[in-house]
């Protein structure tokens, strides 16, 4: 699998492509992954670069919610979009495999994943998942992968039925709210996302905890991490599957070579951190798809 750090990747030469006949206009969705700062990037120069390179009109759509992007994929109204793994799985299911992941972002440390973590108050005396039996837990919100879907999936894989293992479960409405709920002693534990690397006392290198620490809203001394999930792969850049292979290849090359060919533009869209992109395949996201299927079946079965 190719990655931006590979030395031999060349930026695509400017010029009109064959596939332009099929793609008269390149419509790009920008949908944040778990890292919510993504969309505060500056995308103007990036769009111009796309236009200059492939010489077709390019439109960017900054979306706050993936439902619209999924419908647009389904209706053939969108060519390419960045999205979270959960959103990708939803799109894949909704279009019956009509979308395909091509790339995901790579962090500065070379990883392409993050983890879900379970935190409790430091003074609660809880130090392990076992001690959570019969305690209460708060998820962040029902659409969040790291704050709800994945931890439940992972816990079930560990043989724990989250609906019975805990005395009480609930939603906080968001990552931050869930953490506040723990600090306010409304719940014993909360689940949120983190990069999983770096100093735990600083809230790891990235994640909800880290950004709250940076704002001075919490102090990690008050919290303790008692569980972390398997790594979850970063959200993919997704294209419509029915587009020509040459188009997909061009997109891959464009992004893979972007950090080195146009470091300024890359920095603007990634807001600093990151080492570029790495190629991915659908197989790497299959677990998300399974997880969604399982959720849907669970739901039908009325839990």
């Amino acid at each position: 699998q190719r990655r931006s750090t590979d030395p031999d990747i060349a930026f695509p030469a400017p010029g009109r492509r064959e596939w332009a006949a099929q793609v008269p206009q390149l419509r790009v969705g920008v949908l944040g992954g778990e890292n919510e700062a993504d969309r505060l990037g500056r995308f103007g120069p990036y769009r111009e670069l796309l236009e200059r390179t492939f010489q077709i009109p390019v439109r960017l759509f900054m979306a706050s919610d993936y439902a619209g992007v999924i419908q647009a994929f389904g209706a053939g109204q969108l060519e390419i979009s960045t999205m979270s793994p959960a959103a990708y799985a939803a799109a894949w299911l909704d279009t019956n495999g009509g979308v395909e992941p091509i790339l995901c972002t790579e962090e500065a440390d070379g990883s392409i994943s993050y983890v879900a973590v379970m935190v409790v108050r430091a003074d609660s005396g809880i130090a392990s998942l076992e001690q959570m039996r019969g305690r209460s837990i708060v998820w962040s919100d029902p659409n969040s992968a790291s704050g709800y879907l994945i931890p439940r999936f992972a816990l079930r894989r560990q043989g724990i039925n989250p609906d019975r293992y805990f005395s009480r479960t609930g939603f906080g409405g968001g990552h931050e709210q869930a953490i506040v709920a723990v600090l306010q002693r409304q719940y014993d534990a909360a689940v949120t996302w983190a990069s999983g690397i770096g100093e735990e006392a600083e809230g790891f290198t990235r994640g909800a905890l880290r950004s709250m620490v940076e704002k001075g809203m919490i102090n990690m001394r008050d919290l303790r991490v008692i569980w972390r999930s398997e790594p979850i792969i970063n959200g993919p850049t997704t294209v419509r599957a029915d587009l020509p292979a040459s188009f997909k290849e061009d997109m891959k090359l464009f992004h893979l070579a972007l950090p080195r060919a146009h470091p300024e533009i890359y920095r603007q869209i990634e807001r600093g951190g990151g080492a570029g992109y790495r190629e991915v395949t659908h197989a790497q996201y299959q677990f998300m798809v399974d997880l969604r299927r399982e959720e849907a079946q669970e739901r039908r079965r009325r839990n």
Binding site: D141, G173, A181
Partner: protein, 296 residues
């Protein structure tokens, strides 16, 4: 005769002058409106061709969310695909959610209604007891409805933790701002004759509000209040945002997870609730307006 003729001529001249003035004002207004229209249409990319091509496809999404019901099994059990029971398989939990949400919305709307009714009298230009009270009331209403309810909700989460309490308070605050403005405008439209009557009888400001203005505007206030109740009933963002669930949050979950048939089922339930509130609103309003029949 000549006097009359000259009066007519003068009147006609004045009419023409007024018409010219009105016409040029109207023309200017229309030009500005047209300009704004074209500019916003351009920004919004409202291309007639796109519209023509796309509008026939609006039905697509609605077709997707509607279930495929089959006659033969319409009244079969939850397990049979194509039956009503299969479509509404979570009816019990949805009904419960709707009920719970209605309670939260009712409490929030009630609080907001009361606060707005108190603030709206000083915020009405024609009744304001003084410039200070007027500006204070106006500005606070403006602030309350401009600060996004999500921001209010997050601030309240830090104060009261997650759950209905923060959500209800956030909605109540937002409703106060939204209703207060509407109330103030209704009050500004009221007839001031009775107001003078009560004041002239030595009634205080509050008494005049209560006896002279409130009876006039009550039907309006009630209908705005019930409309706001309806909006709060549907509003998902805030209640979901503070983790208090609600039917709106359930709808968003169904939409985001593409549980299509559930979307239409929940929407139908909400429509039912909305229709109930509307019927109630109509009845209450006409009761308050009373038999206006032949009011001379």
């Amino acid at each position: 005769m000549t006097a009359a003729a000259s009066a007519v001529a003068r009147g006609e001249a004045a009419f023409r002058a007024a018409r010219r003035r009105k016409r040029s004002a109207a023309l200017l207004g229309a030009a500005i409106l047209l300009g704004c229209f074209l500019l916003s249409a351009w920004i919004a990319e409202a291309d007639p061709a796109t519209l023509r091509a796309g509008l026939p496809r609006i039905g697509e999404y609605f077709r997707r969310i509607l279930p495929t019901l089959r006659w033969e099994v319409l009244f079969a059990g939850t397990g049979t695909e194509g039956s009503l029971a299969f479509w509404f398989y979570r009816l019990d939990s949805w009904a419960l959610l709707l009920w719970e949400t209605a309670q939260m919305a009712a409490l929030a709307t009630l609080t907001g209604f009361a606060a707005a009714a108190l603030l709206a009298f000083p915020a009405a230009r024609n009744l304001a007891p003084g410039p200070l009270a007027y500006h204070l009331a106006r500005r606070s209403l403006e602030g309350l409805r401009t600060v996004p309810d999500l921001v209010i909700a997050l601030i309240l989460v830090w104060a009261f933790g997650v759950g209905p309490l923060a959500g209800i308070l956030a909605i109540a605050l937002h409703s106060t701002g939204a209703l207060g403005k509407l109330f103030a405008e209704a009050i500004e439209n009221a007839d001031l004759g009775p107001w003078e009557g009560v004041r002239a009888a030595g009634g205080s400001w509050a008494q005049a509000c209560r006896f002279a203005v409130l009876p006039q505007v009550l039907p309006n206030l009630l209908s705005y209040g019930l409309l706001r109740f309806e909006i709060n009933l549907r509003s998902a963002s805030v209640i979901g945002f503070v983790g208090a669930g609600g039917i709106g949050e359930e709808l968003y979950t169904a939409i985001a997870s593409n549980y299509y048939e559930e979307v239409s089922a929940i929407v139908l339930l909400i429509i039912l609730a909305v229709a109930c509130v509307d019927l109630l609103s109509e009845r209450v309003r006409h009761r308050v307006i009373g038999a206006m029949e032949g009011a001379r």
